[in-house]
Amino acid sequence: MIESKSLILHTATRFLLPLQLLFSLFLLLRGHDEPGGGFIAGLVAAGAIALYLFAFDVPSTKRMLRASPHDLFGLGLLLAAVSGIPALFLGKPYLTALWWELEFPFFGEIKLSTPLLFDIGVYLVVIGSVLSIVMTLAEAE
């Protein structure tokens, strides 16, 4: 495995990672209106963590993540699949979009919706899967 122990890379990665993750969240949340969305956001986040992985190693990446990639994509799948179920109880077809407009004290009005939940599911699955593949390969060394 390409394990550069260079200090610059370490520092840069440590510094970049939160920014990248934040950026990916931004992409995720604005995806419904501008280019972005679960896939792109997930790929960006996965790329960021992969960079961290190359800079450090698998165990420390796992520690940093505090969850195994399997759990990430398992959760994502569950979230995505379940996001369609509430509609069933309202007598609507599976996956029908439901919208709630919530007032938050600081952020103002935020539209919460099942498509957003679904997109978060997608986001998690993309991160989980890509990381799982990359980490598996990295560990196989």
Binding site: H32, D33, W99, P115, S129, I133, T136
Partner: protein
């Protein structure tokens, strides 16, 4: 009647438990069922004799026009009686014959199941349910022939009989469906639904409508293929002698008295509807007569007791077929008489064969001699049935044979052929009767492998009953005549006949023939060894008959062609698989294209310079990737292609696509690089010829795709807007999203996306499983290896 048939199957399933309860006496206990059925069917005799037909309608699979309706007329009744009476005797006999054999429960299971199938066959009204039972008899027969399955040769025999009879059966199925199509032709009889498969309904149709139909000839030939194979007619006869691999009670019941007569049964049934044509009256008698002659010829040549019986059964089946083919009124009477006579004497003979084999340990007729002192009852019975077989008065066999002569003398077609063969067969028949009934029991007493002694009652019962039957019916033919024969003849002839059975009906040609053949036959018997010597000198001929063709076909040709084909098609080369698939695609698409399509799109090349640049880079990179011998170069080039594709997406208004493609391409290249360094460098593998071929195919496929794109360019089959206009219009007001692509992904077409993330997850699981999974032994080996290293 449904219950009568089903009870056999049910008892068959229960038979192993009966065996646990009753042990050696199981045969006697189980025989109660066939005996009861015999009584049950016997009780119908008075009714059926008056010309009544008893019908029980049972629906089965009406969607396919299949019924399970049963009917009982004289002919079915005759068969039902044979099946149940001989069945009773055989079950008892089998119990004695196989006593101590640990597989005996299986014998009971299949013999009872067989009996039930056979009953179903002769009682069925629907041709399809008849066929179902027909195949069931083949299956049960397979299991019974293979009873001694530890012996490789016997297994092969069972296999052969199954393949031949089932193969014929398949042809018959097609024939039966064709027959259905004939009678349901609206221009003809126009039978509807299940009626068109009903035997009774078909026979009620004017036979001209059937024989005049364009499908008559194929239907007849296909049905005959089934009948001929099942009833062991030349050239399909060879399986029957081999079927003697089964235990003797099986041979006696299935391969002599009942199952092999199924074909005869069906032909006789169809005779009023399909008979009477030149084809019928020529083909069937020729096949029948030939079979008859060949059967007797080989019977005389054989030396094993059961072999002789098997061939003489073929002879009898030939006679029956021939009589059906001749198809006159008298022929039908002769047919029924001969059928009954044969069932009785041949059933008895098989059981005697079993007794002899069982009690002496050999069935070689060259060895057997002078058993009469040790086995007096057997010898007496054998003598009686031999007389019947030879066709001497006053036994019933005589009646059958006399009627046969009389019929042959009035055969409308191919009379000379028939008469010649009849005379020759009768002559040999006398000799064979002698071989079976006289030679083993009379003369000097010979050594046998086992010290001979009389058989137990269970085994003697069958032959005694059957021999008594032959004697009674022979002495008092009116008894059989009035009870069964006339009713049966009426059933298959369609109306009552003027003929009747009598021991003496005046001095005529038939009597002369009987006398002449008798003398000649005795002569042959006397000179048996010499005759056989002559016959054996023709061995080469026998070795290259139909059986040779069958064996070669099955054991040589089929595996050869199968291997050859598999070697060519499934050759293991992925490239050839892909080539075949791609060429198929190009051929089908290309053919459809050239026969109907055309390129209509306007070839406008309104292109921006930077676009041209990107696609040129893309193509160059693609061709570089394909042609380079550098691993890394190839990967990099593929990456360039991917990135140019992303640029194209962005140029043409697809920002989301562009970004995704960019990210995915990056990841793919990373993965490739991660993995590639563990793989060897390219080595030039393919030959130049292969390369040229592949370039050619590649260009074909590429050209096809280009042509398709160009040709569909201006094809717009819809009158309205594409559905995406709806997506655009509703995106803001109803889906609350301004990025329409994303709205499609998470709202309009969420299900696609759901599936897609499952694919991603699956890929991750797959990769994980592939890399991490090590077989336990593999892991153990690895652990051991590392241990060794450590100790070292």
């Amino acid at each position: 009647m449904l219950l009568a048939v089903l009870s056999g199957f049910i008892l068959a399933i229960a038979a192993p438990w009966f065996f646990k309860a009753f042990g050696d006496r199981t045969g006697w206990v189980l025989a109660i069922l066939p005996a009861a059925l015999a009584v049950y069917f016997g009780s119908y005799i008075p009714e059926v004799m008056t010309g009544e037909t008893v019908v029980q309608e049972v629906p089965w699979i009406p969607s396919l026009d299949i019924e399970l309706t049963f009917f009982l007329d004289g002919f079915s009744l005759l068969f039902a009686m044979l099946i149940t009476v001989i069945g009773t005797l055989v079950v008892i006999y089998g119990g004695g014959y196989l006593k101590g054999d640990k597989d005996i429960p299986r014998f009971y299971v299949f013999i009872l199941a067989f009996m039930a199938s056979m009953l179903g066959l002769v009682l069925s009204d629907s041709l399809i349910s008849l066929f179902v039972f027909w195949e069931l008899t083949s299956i049960t027969s397979f299991m019974l022939i293979g009873y001694y399955h530890d012996n490789a040769k016997y297994r092969k025999c069972a296999h052969q009989s199954m393949m031949v009879t089932v193969g014929g059966g398949l042809a018959m199925m097609a024939g039966l469906i064709l027959l259905m199509m004939i009678v349901s032709d609206p221009a003809g009889a126009g039978l509807q639904g299940a009626e068109a498969f009903s035997l009774r309904a078909i026979l009620a149709v004017d036979s001209g409508l059937i024989t005049g139909h364009e499908f008559y000839v194929p239907a007849l030939l296909l049905i005959l293929a089934g009948c001929f194979t099942k009833s062991a007619q030349v050239p399909f006869h060879f399986w029957l002698p081999n079927a003697m691999a089964g235990p003797t009670p099986v041979s006696s019941y299935l391969h002599s008295a009942t199952m092999v007569k199924a074909g005869i049964y069906l032909m006789a049934r169809l005779q009023p509807g399909m008979g009477g044509t030149e084809l019928w009256m020529t083909l069937i008698p020729i096949v029948g007569a030939t079979t008859m002659f060949m059967g007797m010829y080989f019977a005389l040549k054989s030396t094993g007791y059961k072999q002789v019986l098997a061939y003489s059964t073929i002879m009898a089946l030939g006679v029956l077929t021939m009589l059906i083919g001749i198809g006159t009124e008298k022929a039908m009477l002769a047919f029924v008489a001969f059928l009954l006579a044969h069932a009785m004497y041949k059933g008895a003979f098989f059981m005697i064969a079993g007794i002899v084999d069982h009690e002496t340990g050999t069935k070689d007729l060259k060895v057997l001699s002078g058993l009469r002192k040790k086995m007096p009852i057997t010898a007496t019975v054998a003598a009686v049935v031999a007389v019947s077989l030879a066709g001497f008065p006053p036994l019933f066999g005589y009646l059958g044979k006399k009627m046969m002569f009389e019929t042959a003398l009035e055969a409308p077609n191919v009379q000379v052929y028939i008469l010649t063969l009849v005379a020759l067969t009768a002559t040999m028949g006398i000799a064979v009767a002698g071989l079976l009934g006289v030679k083993p029991f009379w003369g000097e007493e010979a050594e046998t492998p086992k010290p001979a002694h009389e058989a137990p009652l269970s085994m003697l019962l069958g032959p005694i009953v059957l021999a008594t039957g032959s004697l009674t019916f022979g002495l008092a033919p009116f008894f059989a005549d009035s009870a069964l024969v006339q009713a049966a003849v009426t059933a298959i002839w369609g109306q009552e006949t003027d003929y009747y059975l009598a021991l003496w009906s005046g001095f005529n040609t038939a009597v002369v023939m009987s006398a002449v053949t008798l003398v000649a036959g005795l002569l042959v018997y006397w000179q048996w060894d010499r005759v056989r010597g002559v016959m054996e000198s023709l061995q080469w001929l026998y070795d290259h008959g139909p059986e040779w063709a069958y064996t070669h076909g099955m054991d040589r040709f089929l595996p050869w062609i199968a291997k050859k084909q598999t070697g060519i098609i499934q050759n293991g080369h992925l490239r050839y698989y892909l080539l075949t698939i791609l060429l198929t695609l190009v051929t089908l698409v290309g053919y459809a294209f050239f026969t109907r399509g055309e390129i209509t799109g306007a070839l406008s090349f309104e292109v921006h310079f930077y676009e041209l640049l990107v696609v040129l880079v893309m193509l160059t990179a693609a061709f570089f990737a394909a042609s380079t011998s550098s691993r890394l170069g190839s990967v990099a080039a593929a990456g360039v292609v991917g990135f140019s594709v992303a640029v194209v997406y962005i140029f043409f208004s697809a920002p989301d696509l562009g970004i995704t493609q960019l990210l995915v391409e990056t990841l793919t290249v990373i993965l490739l690089v991660l993995v590639l360094f563990r793989l060897p460098e390219f080595v030039s593998f393919s030959t130049t010829a292969a390369r040229i071929r592949d370039v050619f195919v590649a260009l074909l496929v590429g050209g096809m795709m280009t042509a398709l794109l160009l040709a569909t360019q201006d094809v717009q089959l819809y009158e309205h807007d594409p559905i995406s206009h709806y997506h655009i219009a509703k995106s803001v007001p109803e889906a609350y999203g301004r990025n329409i692509v994303n709205v499609i992904l998470v709202d309009y077409r969420t299900l696609d996306t759901l599936g897609e993330i499952f694919v991603l997850a699956l890929a991750a699981i797959g990769v994980y499983a592939m890399v991490k999974f090590r077989k336990r032994d593999e892991r153990l080996a690895a652990a051991e290896a590392s241990e060794k290293e450590e100790t070292a």
